[in-house]
Structure formats: structure tokens, C-alpha cells
Subunit: 153 residues, 2 copies
DNA sequence: TATTGTTATACTCTATAACTATA
DNA sequence: TATAGTTATAGAGTATAACAATA
């Protein structure tokens, strides 16, 4: 992923130490992290969305509908997503005991193990990315990012 | 350090003031910004990748191959991408004067105008997101993000 | 022969609309 | 009737492999 501002596509001025505007910096950082995630997921033959599904299921057993709302996708899209994950043995559908139209989606042990490995590998690569930052800077960055996430929630 | 993994979609506990670990904070921030971009692009019937293509073409006239390298995609994928953008009148292929196998891809005026509108709208939404941050925090965040981007380049 | 780009093929991901089966 | 989920269909985006034209 070359150096390029996401919103404008403009190249930052030459040699390192570039100071991007906040909008461009956030856009590029987003591409960077998203790319690392896609890449990491790919190492395990997973797409980003399949990885997110596993993440959601890590501590939840949602219905198809709830999953759709969680991921911001149509329920029809979820059907396919879960079909493919189920075919790989990563998740399973269980008929709801209270509503026979409804399923509860849960992770299998295989799925859980895979999710852990992906998360671990992803964390390692992010750690590598931030390795240069001083402890105080890392804390500061985490705090600022958390603040934005909170605001958007 | 694999507590709350946002890499995997885990949501922190509800009420504000959560202090995420750096890995999770970056992962969630990435999803957030990426989502805003996808949403903004969608307002103009563009996908994220089409928007990125327009961004690249903003100050370049690459060949198909160069575009592929820029975006980290196969040249075959670029063919389809440019086909669709060309069909919408956003970009055009021009045969290279020096190598008749090769094309130079450039933006049309229509494409340029659209790219500007998307970038403007995206910036506005990001500004909204960071509206709460003090000026010093914004500078700090931009600086830290830039540092990571530099490192990855 | 090597390179540039397209085409053929296959798969994932996504939405909309129509459907089935419950409720 | 209304809701949960699936299926049918269509299209974008991606890769790999085979191909054409040009170098």
C-alpha cells in the first residue's frame, strides 16, 4: 500500500517525517490497519467479514437477525456468510428452543481455535507496527482512539 | 494481551470511558473510519475501491500495471475496475504513445468532480468525529498516525 | 521470448425480491 | 398478518489461468 492520502490520493511531501492533516492521517491509518487485518485473515483463508463474524460469536450466540444488525448487513447476506462458515466447520446453527423459526448461531471449537490464532497473529503484527512508539505515546494513541470510538458509539 | 479483541469485533462494555488496549483501539478505529468512508462513497454510488482508484488518478496517469501495483491488486482485477469506471464516464484509457500494448488511465472531468465531492464529504464527517478533541489532541493524533504510516512505508 | 492487458472462469460478498415456515 | 430465515437472482470485486498483441 503506497503512501497516498486516502481522501485525496495526493502524495505526501518526500522524505519521512511527513505530517499529514488529521483527516488524511486517519484515512491512511485506517487503510493500513485494515490491510494488515485482511492480510492476516488471508493467512488463515479467511476474509475480513468472516473474521468479524467469528469475533462477534466469541462471546455471543445471536440469531441470524441479530447478527445482521451487528454487522450492518442484510439477513440474506448473513445466510450465505453463515453457510460458508458452517461448511468449514467454524460455526453452527441451532434451532431456538423458544421460536422454531429462529436459529442460534454459535462457534464450534474449531472456529474458536481459529479465531484465537487470527487474533494473536493480528496483535503481533500491530505490535510490530507500533514497536517504535514510546510507552507514553502508545498509551496516548490508545486513549485518543478509544475516545473517538466512544464518541461514535 | 489478548483481552478485548476488537480485531475480532468484541465490543467493550457499554458506557463511555472505556480504555482499550492499543491493538483493539487501532482495530476498532480502523473499522470506524473505513465504515465512514464506505458510507460516504456509497452516497455517491461508489465502492471504497472505486473511490481509491479515483484518488490515485487524482495526480497520476498510470498504466494498468502501475495501477495494479499501487492498489495491490492483480492486473486482471484492474481491468474490471477500470471497465466499470469507464462505463460510468469517470476515467478513460488512452493508448500509450511509446508502447502500443499499454494504456494510460486518466480521470475525466466528471470523475475529478465526483472525487472532489466525495473527499469533501468524507473530510466533513471525519471532522465531525474529531470535533470533541482539543486542538493539541488533534495535532498529537495526526502526528502519531503519521508516524505509524511512515513506519509502514 | 517476455511483457501488457483482456477474457474466461470461479468464488466471495452484497442487496432486493420472492418464498417457506412459523408465530 | 407479521416475523425469521432461505432462496433466486444480479452485480461488484477478486484471483488464477489462458490468451492476444506488441515488444
Amino acid at each position: 500500500m503506497a503512501t497516498r492520502t486516502a481522501s485525496t490520493g495526493r502524495r505526501p511531501s518526500p522524505s519521512g517525517g511527513d505530517e499529514l492533516g488529521l483527516v488524511d492521517a486517519l484515512a491512511q491509518l485506517s487503510f493500513l490497519v485494515h490491510g494488515i487485518l485482511a492480510d492476516t485473515a488471508g493467512e488463515f483463508e479467511l476474509s475480513v467479514i468472516q473474521t468479524r463474524v467469528l469475533g462477534v460469536l466469541r462471546d455471543r450466540t445471536p440469531t441470524m437477525n441479530e447478527l445482521a444488525r451487528h454487522l450492518g448487513l442484510d439477513k440474506a447476506s448473513i445466510s450465505g456468510l453463515i453457510d460458508r462458515a458452517e461448511r468449514r466447520g467454524l460455526v453452527q446453527r441451532t434451532v431456538s428452543p423458544t421460536d422454531r423459526r429462529s436459529y442460534q448461531v454459535s462457534m464450534t471449537d474449531t472456529g474458536r481455535a481459529l479465531a484465537s490464532r487470527v487474533a494473536e497473529r493480528f496483535a503481533a503484527r500491530i505490535e510490530l507496527l507500533v514497536a517504535d512508539l514510546a510507552a507514553a505515546d502508545r498509551r496516548r494513541l490508545a486513549q485518543l482512539a478509544s475516545q473517538l470510538i466512544d464518541r461514535a458509539t
